[in-house]
């Protein structure tokens, strides 16, 4: 399995990293927190560690720590606009429930 970006999301990530001026890719993971148990982590990555699992999607390197992977395996990240707001949407097939806003979830 793998983690993937939609083409639109990848385009935005490449653009963000280029404007930021540094970064080897995107770090995606989960943390235990929030109202439904787990929360996503989405950060710029300046370096990869030996433990990191690497995925490549539309020219973007995605780094995931092995402990996070089971919670998000098969997930696709999309970039969307909702009214004035815009950002990344996590389409995660592992989710059993999530809080109202979707910022935290359970598996």
């Amino acid at each position: 399995m793998a983690i993937t970006l939609t083409e639109n999301a990848a385009k935005h990530v490449r653009n963000f990293i280029a404007k930021r001026g540094k970064g080897v890719g995107l770090r995606i993971g989960v943390r235990t927190s929030g109202c439904s148990g787990m929360a996503y982590k989405l950060e710029f990555a300046d370096e990869a560690t030996d433990d990191d699992l690497r995925f490549a999607s539309h020219g973007v390197t995605l780094l995931v720590d092995p402990k996070s992977l089971p919670y998000i395996d098969g997930m696709e990240l999309d970039y969307t606009r909702e009214g004035l707001n815009e950002g990344f949407r996590f389409n995660n097939p592992n989710i059993k429930n999530q809080c109202g806003c979707g910022e935290s979830f359970g598996v």
Binding site: E43, G87, F88, R89, Q98
Partner: protein, 629 residues
């Protein structure tokens, strides 16, 4: 579900705890809001994709408020209730606004007490409004735009102000933000914000000039960027000069060309709107056509050529160069030291402005960021940092005080405690003493300005330090501390070092000094440097002479009996002579008369000394006084 943004490494926030922060450029003509998203500073648009919110507020009879485009559209029709360029009124009294008759508003008297005391007010169909309330309406719109766009409540905002805003104007801006429900993380000088936007994006070190010609204000700042530290070396400007003045030139030209006399407020607004459109058109085109129908039914149809516009606005452009020279002089730098020139403000799009600035500095100014957005973009970067969204690499931001701060000393002289162009935040202390024997209170008069005499400076606040233990003149040690916080607001405290009695004031500045006055005061301080030196010498001499007269008078009352008739007369004559010279503005004459009086009292002083010594020695045997080997 919520949409997520990419955080800096290790800076992911807990769910529902996003530290949403924005930068707001609260401009004279337009206002903007920006934020850092996915690591990049972006301006937030409204639902129609527009970034600029015209800083126009219209009050309606039903109590409603229209802000931005909707208000601007009605500014000709409903000029009295449609407030434009309210920034010019922030923290200002009625008497500070020179062009009142040219404005279509009904002004109300300033409240004498409470917040905003001394600040002018506007009478609208929805009641009396202060500039703070009007500005708050603009900020509310930007706040809700940001909260919709970011999907959450803001933790705070960085709001930019012209470098020349004084304490009253900064306080008024803070009050407006609070009224709009915004937490102010910091007020930031506009040129500094622009430098942040450019400095970080281009990562270039060196000395830069920021040339900011906005709608109503002109600021020039000399900044040094090194190792991520921004230091403002000097700031200068003309806060009554901006793009609006170029509109007025075209407006006057239209009146002249069409043989019109003074128009009503509605037609004035109409023509100004057309004048602005023509100005913007002339940036891209060689000529602009202006057609409008006045309320009298008269048609205006004129064609303005770019060359004609350049000629009529030439002296406005030239007026920006004088503050530029002064700023360079303050920074002790020459044109050759400037590594780059940053252009800020929509008015810098005008080719004649870019040309004049390029010629002055001998280099092409930087225009690669949108001059309308660059301030907001920089403010957003600062807000993002202050909200705690940025890992490591924190940078220090230094701003300067535009006018010296000090207190009044005897003789109406201004003693500077924090000199102009000091970087803030800062704290300085100086010790003062009492003037009279047994003096138990001291009045502290806080002033701002460059001139030597208090009457030529601006009065900021007055307070009293009471409970000083009675001592002879000059024995008390009163430490006066001036503290300016990161927003440029002033705290003054006074403490008598012996007894520890203390008094302090947070300067609730009395509104009242116009920006033009600040500029005028700066100019005058250089023009009047010679006069001021004379004036200071005179006042010092007068104060000294008064002190001498008082001391002699006191001595005569106590020990007059020690003098013979002739001796007493001689002293009294010279006292009269000295009193007479006090009326003359001649410090040398006072000095001579004081020396003459001093001379006449030598013998008297000797007699008094002998008397007090014999008083001490009376009844003592000589052996008691012998010094033991």
């Amino acid at each position: 579900m919520a949409l997520l943004q990419i955080s800096e490494p290790g800076m992911s926030t807990a769910p529902h705890q996003h530290r949403l922060a924005v930068g707001i450029d609260l401009g004279t003509t337009n206002s903007l809001v920006a934020t850092v998203r996915n690591g990049i500073s972006v301006v937030l648009n409204d639902e129609n994709g527009r970034a600029l919110l015209p800083s126009v507020v219209r009050y309606l009879a039903d109590g409603g408020v229209a802000v931005g485009e909707a208000a601007q559209a009605m500014q000709s029709e409903d000029a009295a209730n449609t407030i434009v360029s309210v920034k010019r009124f922030m923290g200002r009294g009625l008497k500070d606004v020179g062009e009142i008759s040219r404005l279509p508003y009904r002004f109300a008297d300033a409240p004498s007490a409470g917040p905003g005391s001394g600040m002018l007010q506007l009478r609208t169909v929805a009641g009396i409004k202060s500039p703070v309330e009007v500005s708050a309406e603009i900020l509310k719109v930007l706040r809700s735009r940001a909260e919709v766009a970011l999907g959450g409540e803001l933790v705070g905002a960085v709001i930019t102000v012209p470098a020349y805003f004084d304490d009253a104007q900064r306080q008024a801006t803070k009050d407006a933000a609070r009224l709009a429900g915004l937490n102010v993380l910091r007020l930031l000088n506009e040129p500094t914000a622009a430098a942040i936007a450019y400095g970080l994006d281009n990562a270039a070190e060196g000395v830069y000039a920021v040339y900011d010609l906005g709608g109503g204000t002109f600021d020039i700042s000399i900044l040094r960027l090194s190792r991520g530290v921004f230091e403002v070396l000097a700031a200068n400007g003309d806060s009554a000069l901006g793009g609006d003045d170029f509109d007025h030139r075209i407006h006057c030209w239209l009146l002249e060309k069409n043989h019109l006399s003074a128009l009503g407020p509605r037609d004035t607004r109409l023509l100004l709107t057309h004048a602005r459109a023509a100005k913007e058109q002339l940036t891209e085109h060689a000529e602009a056509r202006i057609t409008a129908m006045l309320s009298t039914g008269e048609m205006i149809d004129s064609v303005l050529a770019r060359s004609e516009f350049h000629a009529m606005s030439q002296n406005l452009v030239q007026r920006t160069l004088q503050p530029l020279r002064r700023a360079l002089r303050d920074a002790e730098l020459g044109v050759a030291d400037i590594k780059g020139v940053v252009m800020v403000g929509g008015a810098t799009r005008m080719p004649q402005v870019q040309h004049a600035v390029g010629e002055f500095f001998g280099q092409t100014p930087l225009t690669n960021l949108d001059p309308d957005k660059v301030v907001a973009l920089g403010a957003a970067i600062q807000a993002n940092l202050l909200a705690g969204n940025r890992s490591g690499g924190d940078w220090l931001l230094l701003d300067v005080i535009p006018l010296s701060l000090g207190i009044e000393t005897m003789g109406g002289l201004a003693e500077k405690i924090i000199p102009r162009n000091s970087t803030i935040p800062t704290a300085r202390a100086q010790e003062f003493t009492t003037y009279r024997d047994g003096q138990t209170a001291m009045s502290i008069h806080v002033v701002q300005g460059e001139r030597e005499l208090v009457s030529d400076c601006r009065s900021l606040a007055k307070f009293e330090l009471r409970g000083i233990p009675a001592m002879v003149a000059g024995a008390a040690r009163i430490r006066v501390t001036f503290q300016v916080d990161a927003d440029g607001l002033l705290n003054v405290s006074a403490r008598e070092m012996g007894s520890g009695v203390e008094a302090a004031i947070t300067v609730k500045p009395s509104y009242g000094l116009s920006d033009t006055e600040i500029t005028r005061m700066l100019q005058e301080s250089t023009q009047h440097a010679q006069d001021d030196m004379q004036a200071r010498a005179l006042r010092e001499q007068q104060t000294e002479a008064e002190q001498l007269l008082e001391a002699v008078q006191h001595a005569l009352e106590l020990d007059g009996g020690l003098l013979d008739q002739a001796g007493r007369e001689k002293i009294e004559t010279r006292m009269v002579a000295l009193r007479d010279t006090l009326q003359l503005a001649d410090h040398l004459a006072i000095k001579r008369a004081a020396a003459a009086l001093n001379d006449a009292t030598v013998g008297f002083a000797q007699k008094r000394m002998d008397k007090s010594v014999s008083g001490v020695l009376a009844g003592k045997n000589i052996s008691d006084l012998e010094v033991k080997p």
